[in-house]
């Protein structure tokens, strides 16, 4: 019962912020809030494979990009398609999908893509899977640049309706959190962690390693695709380089800082890194205005973030939260003990 009430309160609070914020806060803060929520969807979906299943993927942004492009193509009006994408195959050029269906299709597409890509790749482990998924990211980038009939190539993909608002992102964030929470703290979640912590023992007790990893990878990719669609409808225009290594680094830093085996850790990581970046960005700028002739410290924010990252790796390799969850004493206590068992 307590859980239900708490969930209700949380949902009401989120809804309040989502619908109330735009009238209370300046557009700037609304945008910061929106980007934090959007990055939370990305990082949560990343944590499923990288954190809970132990498959450290560097290719997640490839799914985000694929989702963004697909949703963008589906959402253009027929007239826009004719002018922006004149060579689009006939089966795609006669209709235009609203925001929600386009997002769902994008998610479904990236999930299927993840199954196809993951079927071979999920057999790998350790740095092998990291390097292989990095290869996937590069391949996605090359395809986005060259499949110009669909993506306009390296040219900016533009004209996507700006539908992404705070309620949309908070709504999808809530769905993501709910699904992942149910998944991670379920028997399947225990299988994921078992595969992560001891592959051989997990196989010995009859866990199908490939199936477990692949499921986690595909569900993560689904939400990456959904997030990509939200991102596309937030930016309105983007190009292949938007979905490449810079974004990958950013998401990984958020995930690792917060703690790879914890959903609330992922959220905390996103919030810390986002606020810190915004803060550092204005500090950087502070030196360039007025008559102070200190040379601009552009790039300083990235250096500070990098050092914090290394310090975390050395002194707190499991991130801020490690594998604990912030539950404020509610939800199943057993969640904690489950994780304890999972630890090596």
């Amino acid at each position: 019962m307590a859980r239900l009430i708490i969930s209700g309160v949380v949902v009401a609070l989120l809804a309040g912020v989502a619908f109330g914020a735009p009238s209370l806060m300046s557009d700037y803060f609304v945008r910061i809030l929106l980007i934090i929520a959007l990055n939370s969807i990305f990082v949560l979906s990343l944590s499923l494979s990288n954190g809970f299943t132990g498959v450290f993927s560097l290719g997640h942004v490839g799914f985000i990009g694929a989702g963004a492009y697909l949703s963008g193509i589906l959402s253009l009006t027929v007239a826009q398609k004719a002018s922006l994408l004149p060579h689009l195959p006939a089966f795609m050029n006669w209709f235009s999908l609203p925001f929600l269906p386009a997002t769902l299709v994008a998610g479904a597409f990236t999930a299927v893509l993840a199954i196809i890509v993951g079927y071979p790749l999920m057999r790998l482990s350790g740095y092998f899977v990291s390097v292989a998924t990095m290869g996937f990211l590069i391949i996605v980038n090359v395809v986005l640049i060259n499949a110009s009939d669909f993506t306009r190539g390296a040219r900016t993909f533009t004209g996507v309706p700006l539908d992404t608002s705070l309620p949309w992102v908070f709504g999808w964030l809530a769905v993501t959190l709910f699904v992942l929470w149910r998944l991670v703290y379920s028997p399947f979640g225990r299988r994921m962690k078992a595969v992560r912590d001891d592959t051989i023992a997990a196989s010995a007790v009859g866990i199908d390693m490939l199936k477990t990893r692949l499921t986690a990878f595909a569900i993560g990719a689904f939400f990456a695709g959904v997030g990509g669609s939200l991102f596309a409808h937030y930016l309105g225009s983007f190009s292949p380089v938007t979905f490449y290594f810079a974004m990958t680094m950013n998401l990984i830093a958020m995930l690792v800082l917060g703690g790879m085996g914890s959903l609330s850790g992922a959220l905390i990581g996103v919030i810390c890194v986002s606020l810190l970046s915004e803060l550092l960005r204005s500090v950087e700028r502070g030196f360039t205005i007025g008559h102070i002739t200190i040379p601009a410290l552009f790039g300083a924010s990235q250096i500070v973030l990098g050092f914090i990252f290394i310090l975390i790796m050395i002194f707190r390799p499991k991130g801020i939260m490690g594998e604990r969850e912030l539950t404020f004493g509610f939800f199943r206590r057993s969640a904690k003990s489950q994780i304890k068992q999972g630890e090596v």
Binding site: Y28, I32, I35, T158, G236, S239, E278, R285, T288, A296
Partner: protein, 392 residues
């Protein structure tokens, strides 16, 4: 926007009265704020940096001469890090927190496309000094103006220069498929060149960041008939390497390109290999420039201790001057009036040429300079308006 105006007017009135009463000097307290987001780090940094310097120089000159409408102007600068997400955040900072009245922004169309929807919604006019995609105004809306010519115009001038001045009836096309700018430039070039009777013997591509072009070059060498010239739709980093490797392979035919070449690196890195290269750009900056450009070069050198790095310095300067001119003609600090004043600009004598907008067209009619390289130096090879321009 009415709020801002009322507050500005009130502030102006009050402060003027206060200043007059206490010191007897007329000095407006509230400056006119013009947003100036720029990619000072990341991919576009080498263009936006000089552009910002040029803009600051123009603002300083305007302020030294008493400002506009009795007010000083202030450029509100942010680094947008060549990142679309940061650009959208900065746009909201400029619009909501800094309450800028207009914006001068960016040298690449990607970034202008990223900021466009927000300024369009807030009805704040934007002048881009250097984003040369002629499609921008139609893609975004009526608040967006270019201070530079469109890529279709410069590609057309490049094609006609090859046909008429170089007498090259056959050509070879090399395109960087890694950026919007080079892809567009290449498409426009083909249209004018083939319209003018030129024949392309072949086409090849590469991607921004490639270092080795020997395979592409060997293909050119293997052509049954040598082309009269090569049009390379490239950025300066790659074109210098292409030139070196071409010349090393013994191919000495002219290479023609767009304003992406306009950087000191062309001569520094290209060295002897840069000989017989021609590029279209906004204005000729260098020894023997027109007095107008020379004056700008001297002022830039005095302010920053370096010569203007490229034409984007001059474009940044021109865009701020254009904006100030429009504010002056609008008569009030009001975004809608300023927009109309920009659209009505006619015959503004700028460093990079004369700026006029035809009714309903936000890309100015400007002449294009063709610059050549000879004996390790740049020279003005031609200055022209094209006779056939491809549709945007």
């Amino acid at each position: 926007m009415t709020n801002i105006n009322r507050r500005n007017a009130l502030g102006l009135g009050l402060s003027t009265a206060f200043v007059l009463a206490t010191t007897g000097r007329s000095f407006a307290a509230d400056p006119i704020k013009i947003g100036f987001p720029a990619n000072l780090t990341g991919n576009a940094a080498s263009l936006d940096g000089p552009m910002l310097n040029g803009g600051k120089l123009a603002a300083a000159e305007i302020n030294a001469a008493g400002g506009v409408l009795g007010q000083q102007i202030e450029l509100v600068v942010y680094d947008t890090k060549s990142d679309a997400t940061v650009i959208s955040t900065v746009a909201s900072q400029l619009i909501d927190s800094d309450k800028v009245v207009s914006i001068v922004a960016f040298s690449d169309s990607d970034s202008v496309l990223a900021i466009g929807p927000q300024i369009q919604k807030a009805k704040i006019p934007l002048i881009t000094p250097g984003a040369t995609s002629p499609k921008l105004p139609s893609q975004l809306g009526d608040e967006v103006f270019l201070a530079c010519f469109g890529d279709n115009v410069q590609a057309a001038v490049g094609a006609e220069f090859a046909l008429n001045n170089l007498k090259a009836k056959t050509g070879y096309l090399l395109t960087d498929i890694g950026t919007e700018y080079t892809t567009l430039l290449s498409d426009y070039f083909v249209k004018t060149y083939e319209h003018g009777g030129g024949k392309l013997l072949g086409k090849d591509t590469y991607k921004t960041g490639d270092k080795t072009f020997t395979a592409q070059i060997a293909k050119i060498k293997a052509l049954p008939e040598a082309p009269g010239f090569i049009y390379a739709a490239s950025l300066v980093d790659e074109v210098t390497l292409i030139l070196k490797q071409l010349r090393q392979a013994g191919i000495n035919i002219p290479v023609v390109g767009g304003d992406g070449y306009d950087s000191p690196l062309l001569l520094e890195v290209g060295g002897k290999a840069a000989e017989n290269t021609y590029f279209t750009t906004h204005s000729y900056i260098g020894p023997g420039a027109t007095p107008k450009v020379q004056k700008f070069m001297d002022a830039y050198k005095a302010a920053y201790k370096v010569d203007p790095e490229n034409a984007f310095a001059a474009l940044g300067y021109d865009a701020v001057k254009l904006m100030a001119d429009a504010i002056k003609r609008a008569g009030v600090v009001d975004s809608a009036k300023i927009r109309d004043a920009i659209a009505a600009t006619s015959g503004l004598d700028a460093v990079t040429g004369t700026i006029s907008y035809r009714p309903g067209i936000a890309v100015p009619d400007k002449s294009v300079s063709v610059i050549g390289v000879k004996d390790g130096k740049l020279f003005l090879a031609s200055e022209a308006a094209p006779s056939f321009v491809a549709e945007p």
